[in-house]
């Protein structure tokens, strides 16, 4: 097999000023995967990472098609592909699960998004969420609501379907040092206080407190 299986793998994100190597790209995906797994709410989509990783996989698979049977390198490449595809699938799965779980809120948030704000959903996810909403609403109407007394023929999906609980605790590791993080008291006889989050340190605290730091990448959920 030729040595150039991924010779042109580093040209992703050409238009960005900071060029990411494939290895960095995979690291980004893994970060996003763990954050999504552990955060109670749906995080911003990382569709550009997803697209680039998919591209890498497709490219590699295409190269492997040309390799003759029984090539020792090919099987190592395939194992790597399997591993990356697992992370990718698992990541997209957790997102889809949350979209289904919180669909009215997710769509509401997307609707109320300011121009220029990063969008929560990728275009594909947005399409899926809308269909899911319509499908479910249609079903509930047809099966029950339509057959109920006139004053009960609607339910507020936003109130019926639960919201993510941002007050849940999460485990995290600090990637960039943060000062003066305000910790709210748990009980009436406690007082609020501030902590500094040293780089590399690990913590257990409420997601709400550090949610902005997750999206900036300053902390990693673990």
């Amino acid at each position: 097999m030729s040595d150039g299986l991924s010779e042109d793998g580093s040209d992703i994100n050409q238009e960005d000023e900071d060029v990411m190597t494939p290895a960095e790209l995979i690291a980004k995906l893994e970060e996003a995967w763990l954050n999504e797994k552990f955060s109670p709410e749906l995080l911003e989509n990382k569709s550009e990472v997803v697209e680039c990783v998919m591209e890498q996989l497709t490219h590699m698979e295409a190269n492997l098609q040309r390799v003759k049977k029984g090539d020792a390198k090919a099987s190592i490449h395939r194992m790597e592909i399997d591993r990356i595809r697992y992370v990718l699938s698992s990541y997209l799965r957790s997102r889809l699960q949350k979209i289904e779980k919180y669909f009215p809120h997710v769509l509401e948030k997307e609707k109320s998004r300011e121009m220029g704000d990063a969008s929560l959903l990728s275009p594909e996810e947005f399409a899926f969420a809308k269909e899911y909403y319509a499908n479910t609403e249609t079903y509930l109407k047809a099966m029950a609501l339509k057959r109920m007394p006139p004053n009960l023929q609607t339910i507020d999906m936003l109130k019926a379907v639960p919201e993510p609980c941002l007050d849940s605790f999460v485990f995290l590791r600090v990637k960039e040092r943060q000062e003066n993080i305000l910790v709210e008291p748990e009980t009436d006889d406690q007082r609020e206080y501030v902590v500094d989050l040293e780089e590399g340190s690990q913590h257990l605290m409420r997601y709400r407190t550090i949610a902005p730091l997750v999206s900036t990448g300053a902390v990693q959920l673990i």
Partner: protein, 196 residues
Amino acid sequence: MFGEKALELVRELHRMSDGQLPAFNEDGVRQVLQEMEALFEQNQADVNEAKVEGRSELIPSIKLRHCCLLRNQRCLTAYLYDRLLRIRALRWEYGSVLPPNIRFHMSAEELQWFSQYKKSLATFMKSLGNGEGLDITQDTKPPKSLYIQVRCVKDHGELEIDDGTVILLKRNSQHFLPRWKCEQLIRQGVLEHVVS
């Protein structure tokens, strides 16, 4: 007591906490809707009377009936919604074609919801990676090896391997195959992963 029928529906699902889908309780649903209709009609009459004839002593009963109506609405919606979640799970566990004995447990509307869900999911998966597509219902466990040893638990017929070749899955035959080709059949209980 009012609301008992609706609550029975909820209990019925709650008892099967592993996510199995019991047969759609058409009777139960109809009875709840009938109860609601009756409650509503009575309330309409009483509200009229209370308004027209000023019988304010009817108001507590009206309010109670209204509460019962709301409770019924909640129970019925929760019943239907929870069933959807179970039906959703079937897509992930069985794949897009369900065994007849399970379809048999679904109402026509549920089947419709299922087929729409299938479609949405398929569209989503197809659109990933600029139309490259990625089946995210596969790869449910971290990969360990490219190939795995599997044993066929029941006669299944033919299985197509990626390169177009076909193999016969006959009870008690054993195969060494690409892992990702087997995953779904293992989940469906057709193949068994042999670890030795």
